[in-house]
């Protein structure tokens, strides 16, 4: 038997247990309901495709509702059947691209390859490369600081506002071969003076575009984080 304050204590912990189980059960039920609701919403979107297409107001409200309960609007689109408006589909991809760029900025300094975007994120949403490129083109016309550039036939997207100089692009080009660049590598390939290479490389490190590796034989080398995704594919 407990008396006094201790009695309350025991009761409290029992309450704690009870609340915990209750909450977890509620959670499960809610999850279930939400899933069912999501499925219904997708069905609804397919059924009322034409109305959604015709009435932009309705469409906006519908998409807002979907995203508020956690349905990625891209799931709702069915390209063959032109669910909603085709443009809406690309708009959604654009939003996703910007989100991803912001998310990975700390890791790669705002430079991301199209391959990484596609393989890392859009493949599971069944968005193909061509659609992705079209969406990025739309983004470019907005002039919102996004820029596409090509290094050795591979397209990259730069999402940080600072301008990429020619030197930066050159270094990224070197990186796209081996995954890294170094002073000596740049001297051999580009005939750059060590001072110039060093300055540009350090600048890119400061901007977060390259990672330093101090354990390589001979000299410090600088890695492009895009290598992580690339090595994974091999």
């Amino acid at each position: 038997m407990r008396h006094g304050l201790a009695a309350f204590n025991a009761e409290r912990s029992e309450h704690y247990e009870a609340t915990a189980t209750l909450l977890s059960r509620q959670n499960r039920e809610l999850d279930l309901q939400l899933n069912a609701f999501q499925e219904k919403l997708v069905d609804f979107a397919k059924d009322h495709n034409s109305e959604l297409k015709a009435n932009p107001d309705f469409r906006v409200k519908f998409i807002k509702m979907c995203s508020s309960i956690g349905i990625d609007p891209i799931c709702l689109f069915d390209k063959e059947r032109h669910l909603f408006d085709v443009n809406d589909y690309f708009y959604e991809i654009c939003v996703k691209v910007i989100e991803l760029c912001r998310h990975t900025q700390d890791l790669n300094g705002g430079v991301i390859s199209f391959d990484e975007l596609h393989k890392g994120h859009f493949q599971q949403l069944k968005v193909d490369m061509a659609d992705l490129q079209k969406a990025v083109e739309m983004l470019e016309t907005l002039d919102g600081g996004l820029e596409v550039f090509t290094i050795k036939n591979k397209k990259y997207l730069r999402s940080v506002p600072n301008e990429l100089t020619n030197d930066h692009t050159k270094i990224l080009e070197v990186c796209s071969v081996l995954g890294y660049a170094s002073v000596s590598l740049l001297r051999i390939n580009m005939d750059w003076m060590p001072v110039r290479s060093d300055a540009v490389l350090k600048e890119m490190v400061a901007k977060g575009m390259l990672w330093v590796d101090g354990q390589a034989a001979g000299e410090t080398i600088y890695w492009d984080p895009a290598w992580i995704v690339r090595s994974h594919d091999d």
Binding site: R2, L5, A6, N9, A10
Partner: protein, 219 residues
């Protein structure tokens, strides 16, 4: 919160069980260890036979190893038996504890029951006096009903009947009560009451009958 006061009680029995379980754990650890030992030695023996296919079976080392394995096996069995014994003991102790709890419950129940029964001790007297009271009450009822209503009732009935006859006329009783028609001529004519006051009576009775008629004409 979370201080000494909220600690769950640890009884002596708990301590004893803990001791039992600790030795049980020791045995459990021992069996596990022996099992791996036997497994390893068996592997060693197999390797030995594989390496020396011709006279591996005759080699004294293999024999000794097998003997060792057997001995370990024997120990393992013993340990397993003891483990079961200890487990049984723990189970028994735990069951005894439950039984003890049961006994305590029983004892408490009995105590409560006796205490309650004690409170019923005056029940007989109580019931007696209740019966007395009830009898007395009935007596009072009787007295009251006889004195107030009992004697009066018949009189009341009679009066009610009289009234009824008076109002409705005794239609049923009239033919029954009628005296037989006299068959003989009366010997003497009955003395009639004087009729001197009759007209007076009639005039008194007629007047109120005419009045409403006249009123009706005016209306």
């Amino acid at each position: 919160m979370g201080q000494g006061s909220s600690k769950i009680e640890v009884t002596k029995a708990d301590k004893a069980i803990l001791q039992l379980k600790i030795s049980k754990d020791e045995l459990h650890r021992y069996t596990k260890r022996t099992e791996t030992l036997i497994f390893n030695e068996r592997e060693k023996l197999k390797r030995m036979l594989r390496e020396d296919t011709k006279n591996g079976t005759k080699s004294p080392r293999a024999r000794i190893l097998l003997k060792k394995i057997h001995y370990q096996n024997h120990l393992l069995e013993q340990a397993a038996d003891q483990l079961i014994n200890l487990e049984n003991l723990v189970a028994t102790v735990e069951f005894k504890l439950v039984e003890k709890q049961f006994m305590v419950g029983l004892q408490q129940g009995k105590d409560v029951l006796t205490r309650l029964n004690k409170e019923f001790k005056g029940a007989e007297d109580l019931m007696d006096s209740v019966a007395d009271q009830i009898a007395y009450q009935e007596e009072i009822d009787q007295v009251l009903s006889s004195s107030l209503i009992g004697g009066f009732e018949e009189e009341l009935d009679r009066e009610l009947q009289d009234l009824d006859e008076e109002v409705n006329g005794s239609k049923e009783e009239a033919p029954v009560k009628l005296p037989d028609v006299p068959t003989e001529h009366p010997i003497a004519s009955p003395e009639l009451p004087s009729t001197e006051h009759l007209p007076e009576l009639a005039s008194v009775e007629n007047q109120p009958q005419e009045k409403p008629q006249r009123e009706a004409q005016f209306a």
